[in-house]
């Protein structure tokens, strides 16, 4: 244990005394969050999103209104009414149409909803199908709108965890291997397990600290929505950090060159940033993209943390995401233990 703590403390001192790295790690995500908050003060984006419940009507039927054929509208199918209504109340979508009950719902506080309702009611005189008037009955919902930055902040924290973990463990171990630090440790009675576990815990502490500072700092200005449990959010973050660190250990287990490490890191991080729903929702994206997103740990982190923060989800609802993160962590740790070499 003495050896473990010695390496843990040394690694933490190395990180916190490297001021340029520390400042960059703190400043980048804070600037990102504040920048998005400034650029998108409202719900973010201009795409109209309409939730559809029930089977889409057959072509030519009375429910197949012209509105359903308008361009530049995004229709999102839902199995039940509860989820889309909750999203409508929080301004995450703009309208809900329930075909089975011939009802539609709008949020009266939503500007997008107002415009959509006008379009829905007016119909399109050039279309063969009738407008909606008289077919669907109107309902309203209300709730606090979720700003884009509220929706975005779990994604930015996820990116911070991703980069902080991969570079902090992956790059550092590769650098240690290349310049002989690992060889120096190998010459001592320190075991590979003691060394690696100290690196993992040190990085866990650092990333958790940075995430907390970033969240608390930006929250003091932007006052994020927090509908769920802080403890549960901390658990989601802790598991995500461990998972990303473990992934970093896998790719750093043998590589000697920092250039190669950089290439592999790009290969890992860019698809995650694009396909994990960090900056935009994956709802309505092609199925292949949604399937691909399930391969990335950050997807589960973002889903779980958004569910906790925005929807107030409890442990039961995010247990699946946590389970996948835990399973990925174990797989990555096992692979890293099998592959790790001092030199």
């Amino acid at each position: 244990m003495k050896k473990f703590w010695a390496v843990f403390v040394a690694r933490n001192l190395e990180f916190f005394r490297d001021r340029s790295t520390l400042i960059f790690n703190l400043a980048f995500p804070i600037i990102l969050i504040l920048g998005f908050a400034y650029a998108f003060p409202g719900g973010g984006g201009t795409t109209f999103k309409i939730g559809l419940v029930g089977d889409r009507p057959a072509a030519g039927s009375v429910e197949d209104v012209a509105f359903l054929h308008y361009k530049h509208l995004q229709f999102l199918p839902y199995a039940g009414l509860a989820t889309p209504l909750d999203r409508l109340a929080h301004d995450q979508i703009d309208m809900v149409i329930d075909f089975s009950k011939r009802e539609y719902y709008v949020n009266e506080a939503s500007s997008n909803g107002y415009v959509l309702e006008k379009m829905f009611a007016a119909g399109d005189s050039s279309a063969a199908a009738p407008a909606s008037g008289g077919i669907f009955s109107r309902n309203t919902v209300s709730g606090t709108p979720i700003r884009y930055v509220d929706w975005l902040v779990p994604g930015v924290l996820g990116i911070n965890i991703l980069f902080g973990s991969l570079s902090g463990v992956g790059f550092v171990i590769v650098r240690y291997r290349r310049n002989g630090v690992l060889k120096r440790f190998k010459a001592t009675p320190l075991s590979a397990f003691q060394f690696v576990s100290a690196q993992v815990l040190s990085r866990f502490f650092i990333v958790a600290f940075l995430s907390t500072v970033i969240f608390a700092g930006t929250d003091s200005v932007l006052h994020f929505r927090m509908a769920g449990s802080w403890a549960l959010l901390a658990l989601v973050n802790a598991l995500a950090i461990l998972c990303m660190i473990s992934l970093g250990l896998v790719f750093s287990s043998r590589i000697k060159s920092e250039e190669a490490a950089g290439g592999i890191m790009n290969l890992i991080t860019w698809p995650m940033m694009i396909l994990s729903g960090v900056f935009f929702s994956l709802e309505g994206t092609p199925q292949a993209m949604q399937i691909a997103s399930r391969a990335f740990p950050i997807t589960y982190y973002i889903e779980a943390s958004r569910a906790v923060m925005l929807d107030g989800a409890g442990l039961a609802r995010i247990a699946g995401d946590l389970g996948v993160l835990a399973a990925m962590t174990l797989v990555f740790l096992a692979a890293a233990a099998a592959l790790f070499k001092w030199e």
Partner: protein, 298 residues
């Protein structure tokens, strides 16, 4: 070598082999190291010195061969008994010298007190300095301190003074002498023949992964060259004269390799040799290597 002096050497290497692909980096070397001695491993770049020493340190696995520490095949606890100063070492950054020493001390079950290491390696003046901001000599002293963190009986120094100025090298030699005086055994690889002559009690010379000569430096020089070489211009030696010490022609000079310099000088004068232009030099290990391999030390 020298097993007769101490029947239980602190370290014994038997028929050690290590190859990288088709390259035999270490090709069947055997030697023994007396406790309390300084043992030098000499040779040019690529001779296999560093590979040999790192296999012995258990940094690399040998292909075959046996390494015995105090008569026992080396095991996991071997690392607790040895100190290592690598040829090239980087350390964790942003740590002071003291913090670096403390880090390595905590990796051993029975560390040497930090204050003793500081005194032994003369680290006082820069003990609280960032380890990135040390001069070459200071850095080597710190690395020596790290190698002493566990108070080892056996210390491996792999080219510890490469790149240091003469003053820093001399200072480092004095530290090694002090460590020897404490009864520690030192295994030293070096490019510097003066360093080997100054510090080493026994040496081996390696080339192409093999040991090509071994023994005590002074004895090896006497064996191969005698006590000194007397150089006389070829024209100063009477035609047909013969002398008891062996001679050879070197660039217009006759070089006499003498076992007894005074006696040889008297013999040359008596034999009619004109002493104008004479020079008397001691041979060194560089000359020995040149003779053994036909190439100079890099």
């Amino acid at each position: 070598m020298n097993d007769s002096v101490d029947p239980t050497p602190i370290l014994e290497v038997r028929d050690l082999h290590k190859a990288y692909g088709k390259v035999k980096a270490v090709d069947g070397i055997s030697f023994a190291v007396r406790e309390g001695s300084c043992f030098g491993i000499l040779g040019p770049n690529g001779a296999g010195k560093t590979t040999a020493i790192e296999v012995i340190e258990t940094i690399h696995e040998p292909d075959s061969g046996t390494i015995l520490y105090r008569g026992e095949v080396v095991g996991r606890s071997f690392k607790e008994n040895i100190g290592i100063q690598f040829q090239d070492t980087s350390l964790q950054e942003f740590l002071t010298v003291r913090e670096t020493l403390e880090l390595f001390s905590k990796l051993y079950p029975k560390p040497r007190p930090i204050d003793e290491i500081i005194a032994a390696c003369s680290l006082e003046e820069f003990i609280d300095r960032d380890n990135r901001k040390l001069s070459g000599g200071q850095r080597q002293r710190m690395l020596l301190g790290i190698a002493l963190a566990n108070d080892p009986d056996l210390l491996f120094l792999d080219e510890p003074t490469t790149g240091l100025d003469p003053h820093a090298r001399r200072n480092f030699w004095r530290l090694v002498e002090g460590i020897k005086a404490q009864g520690k055994t030192v295994i030293l690889t070096t490019h510097y023949m003066d360093e080997a002559e100054y510090l080493c009690d026994d040496i081996i010379v390696m080339d192409h992964g093999r040991i090509i000569e071994s023994g005590r430096p002074r004895e090896l020089l006497l064996k191969h060259f005698g006590e000194a070489v007397i150089r006389v211009p070829e024209a100063a030696v009477p035609a047909g004269a013969s002398f008891s010490c062996p001679s050879e022609l070197e660039d217009g000079f006759v070089a006499f390799n003498c076992a007894d310099t005074d006696a040889s000088l008297r013999e040359l004068v008596a034999g009619g040799v004109d002493l104008a232009g004479i020079s008397v030099e001691r041979r060194n290990l560089d000359d020995l290597f040149l003779k053994l391999t036909g190439s100079g030390l890099d």
